[in-house]
C-alpha cells in the first residue's frame, strides 16, 4: 500500500529530513510514527502527500510511483489519502456538514451522493447533531472529528493523521483514537504521527520510530519507549 525505497531528503539548507529510509506499510495496517521534533516525521508525511520531492529513492502509494507524478496529478494522489492535522484545518466559514460535503464536491460527487454519504459519515464520528454548527461553535474534539469525517467521506484507502491529538486533552484524545480505530477496522490504512506516549503504549500497534532522519525502530505491537533488542524489524 505504502512503500518507501531508499528514500532520502536533504533540504536546500543542507538539513537532512530523511536518510536512506525503507518503510513498507500493508493495506489495513495501523501505524504510529514516533520521534522527537525535527526527527523527520513531518518530512515523511510531506513526502507521502507529495508536498515535497525526495532527493533520492522511490515512493509507491497504492501501486502508483509518487515520485513520477506530474503537478497536475497531485490532486488525484491526495484523493486516495485522507488527512487530519493537529490544528484541524476546517474551513471556518462553512458548517460541519459543508466542510465534509466540500471534500465530496472536490471529487465531483453528485448532489444525491453527497446528501446520502455526508450524514452517514457524520454519524460514524458521532457528529450527526452538530451538522449545522460552524467550527468555532465546536469543541476541539468535535472539530477533529469533523476533520476525520472529511478525511474518510470519500472512502480513501489511506488516512494520514499528523499529531491529531496534539491539541486535545487526554479524554478527548481517546475519543479521537477510538474513531481512528473504528476507521481502521473498516479497512482503512492509518498512519499516525504522534508524541503521545500513553496512546502508543496502550494501543499496541505497529510503531515506527524515526531519529535524525533514520528509522531506528520498527516493531509490531510496540510501545513508545521499547528497547531495540525487543523489536522485530520489518523492512
Amino acid at each position: 500500500m505504502i512503500d518507501l525505497h531508499n528514500v532520502s531528503k536533504t533540504y536546500s539548507n543542507g538539513a537532512i529530513g530523511l536518510n536512506s529510509t525503507n518503510i513498507r506499510i500493508e493495506k489495513g495496517e495501523f501505524v504510529f510514527i514516533t520521534g522527537n521534533s525535527g526527527s523527520g516525521k513531518s518530512t515523511l508525511l510531506k513526502l507521502l502527500l507529495k508536498e515535497i520531492e525526495p532527493s533520492h529513492g522511490k515512493i509507491v502509494i497504492n501501486n502508483k510511483d509518487v515520485t513520477k507524478l506530474s503537478r497536475r496529478q497531485i490532486p488525484y494522489l491526495r484523493r486516495d489519502i485522507g488527512i487530519v492535522f493537529q490544528d484541524f484545518r476546517l474551513l471556518p466559514n462553512k458548517t460541519v456538514y459543508e466542510n465534509v460535503a466540500f471534500a465530496m464536491q472536490i471529487v465531483g460527487a453528485s448532489g444525491r451522493e453527497i446528501r446520502k454519504n455526508v450524514p452517514i459519515t457524520l454519524g460514524l464520528v458521532g457528529l450527526a447533531r452538530k451538522a449545522r454548527c460552524y467550527p468555532d461553535e465546536l469543541s476541539g474534539g468535535e472539530q477533529q472529528r469533523t476533520a476525520l469525517a472529511r478525511a474518510i467521506v470519500n472512502n480513501s484507502p489511506i488516512l494520514i493523521a499528523d499529531e491529531p491529538t496534539g491539541n486535545l486533552d487526554p479524554a478527548t484524545s481517546w475519543e479521537i483514537m477510538n474513531c481512528l480505530q473504528d476507521i481502521n477496522k473498516r479497512g482503512v490504512t492509518v498512519v499516525m504521527a504522534t508524541h503521545e506516549r500513553e496512546i502508543v503504549n496502550a494501543l499496541k500497534k505497529r510503531v515506527i520510530e524515526i531519529t535524525d532522519g533514520s528509522v531506528t525502530r520498527d516493531m509490531h505491537e510496540g510501545g513508545y519507549d521499547d528497547e531495540m533488542e525487543y523489536s522485530q524489524i520489518f523492512v
Binding site: 497536475r72 490532486p75 466559514n93 448532489g111
Partner: protein, 298 residues
C-alpha cells in the same frame, strides 16, 4: 473536463464567497467603478471636444470673393457649379448689399460707413461649407480653377485645428491606457488581498485533493461578478450624469456655445457600454487570475 455538478457548485461558491467577502468585493468594484468613470469622463470630454471642433471646422468653411463685374446669371451658374463639387455641403451667396448690411450692424456710427453707403467697396462672396476640414484644400484647388473667384481660406487656422484635434486624441489615448493599467493593478491587489485572507482555505483545498481549476474558478467568478458590477455601476453613473450635464449645457450655455451642440447622450453611451463592460470584465478576470497564480503552488 469538469462535471456540470461541480461547475454549478463552484459558481455558487463564487457567489457565496463574494457575499462573505463583500467588503473586499465592494472595494474592488469601487476601484473599477472609479477607473471606468474616469475613463468615461475623459472619453466624453474627448469626443465632445472633437465633435465641437468638427462643428467649428465646418463653420470655418471657405470664403471666395466674387470679382467685380461678374453678372448675376454667371453668379447663379457659379453657385450651382460650386454646390456640385465633391465634399461641399452648403453654399451661401452673400451679395455686396448683404455684406454691407452685416458690416454696418457692427459699426453704425462710423463715418467711413457713410462713405461705404455711397460707393460699396465690399465684394460679393460665397460662404462654402465642406464636410470635413481635411477636404478643404481639395475644394480650394477646384475653386481656384474658376477665374471669377478669389479664394480666401484659413489654411493655417485649419491646420492648427487638425493638430489640436490629433493631440487631444493622443493625450486621451495615453490617459485611458494608463487608467486601464492602474485599474488592473488595483484589481490584482484587491483580489490578492482576498486570496491572502483565504490562503488557509486554499491550502486546505489543496490538501484534500482539489485541482487548480477547482480552486481558481470561484475566484474567477468572483472577479467576473466584481468586474460586471463595476461596469454596470459606472455605466449607470455615466448615463445619468451625462444626460444631466448635457441638459445643463444646452439650456444654460446655448448662447455662449453659439449654436454648437454636444454629442447626443445615446452616442456616447452606446460607445461606452461595450467598452466599460469589456474593460470591467477583463480587469476582473485577468486580475483574479494573476492574483491566484502564486497561491496555487502548494
Amino acid at each position: 473536463m469538469m462535471k456540470w455538478n461541480t461547475l454549478k457548485y463552484l459558481f455558487k461558491e463564487g457567489i457565496v464567497g463574494l457575499w462573505k467577502n463583500r467588503v473586499m468585493a465592494l472595494a474592488s468594484a469601487g476601484t473599477i467603478v472609479l477607473c471606468l468613470l474616469i475613463l468615461g469622463m475623459s472619453y466624453s470630454i474627448g469626443t465632445n471636444i472633437e465633435y465641437i471642433l468638427k462643428q467649428i471646422e465646418i463653420k470655418f468653411g471657405i470664403t471666395t470673393y466674387v470679382k467685380e463685374d461678374v453678372s448675376e446669371e454667371r453668379i447663379l451658374a457659379l453657385r450651382s457649379q460650386i454646390g456640385s463639387l465633391p465634399y461641399v455641403t452648403k453654399v451661401d451667396y452673400i451679395s455686396k448689399e448683404d455684406a454691407l448690411k452685416a458690416f454696418s450692424e457692427g459699426s453704425k456710427d462710423d463715418s467711413i460707413f457713410n462713405d461705404f453707403l455711397k460707393d460699396n467697396p465690399l465684394p460679393a462672396s460665397f460662404e462654402i461649407s465642406v464636410s470635413g476640414v481635411e477636404y478643404q484644400s481639395q475644394v480650394v484647388s477646384e475653386l481656384s480653377k474658376m477665374p471669377e473667384l478669389e479664394v480666401k481660406y484659413l489654411k493655417n487656422e485649419t491646420n492648427m485645428f487638425i493638430k489640436i484635434n490629433q493631440t487631444i486624441s493622443y493625450i486621451s489615448l495615453v490617459i485611458i491606457s494608463c487608467l486601464i493599467i492602474v485599474g488592473l493593478l488595483l484589481m490584482i491587489n484587491t483580489i490578492k488581498l482576498t486570496v491572502y485572507i483565504r490562503r488557509k482555505e486554499i491550502n486546505i483545498m489543496k490538501y484534500i485533493g482539489a485541482t487548480d481549476w477547482f480552486i481558481r474558478l470561484p475566484f474567477l467568478i468572483e472577479g467576473l461578478v466584481i468586474g460586471l458590477i463595476g461596469a454596470l455601476v459606472s455605466i449607470l453613473v455615466i448615463v445619468l450624469s451625462y444626460n444631466w450635464l448635457s441638459g445643463v449645457f444646452t439650456t444654460n450655455l446655448m448662447g455662449m456655445l453659439n449654436g454648437l451642440t454636444l454629442k447626443d447622450p445615446s452616442d456616447i453611451i452606446s460607445a461606452l457600454i461595450p467598452v466599460c463592460m469589456g474593460i470591467g470584465v477583463s480587469i476582473g478576470l485577468i486580475g483574479s487570475g494573476m492574483a491566484m497564480h502564486k497561491h496555487l503552488k502548494v
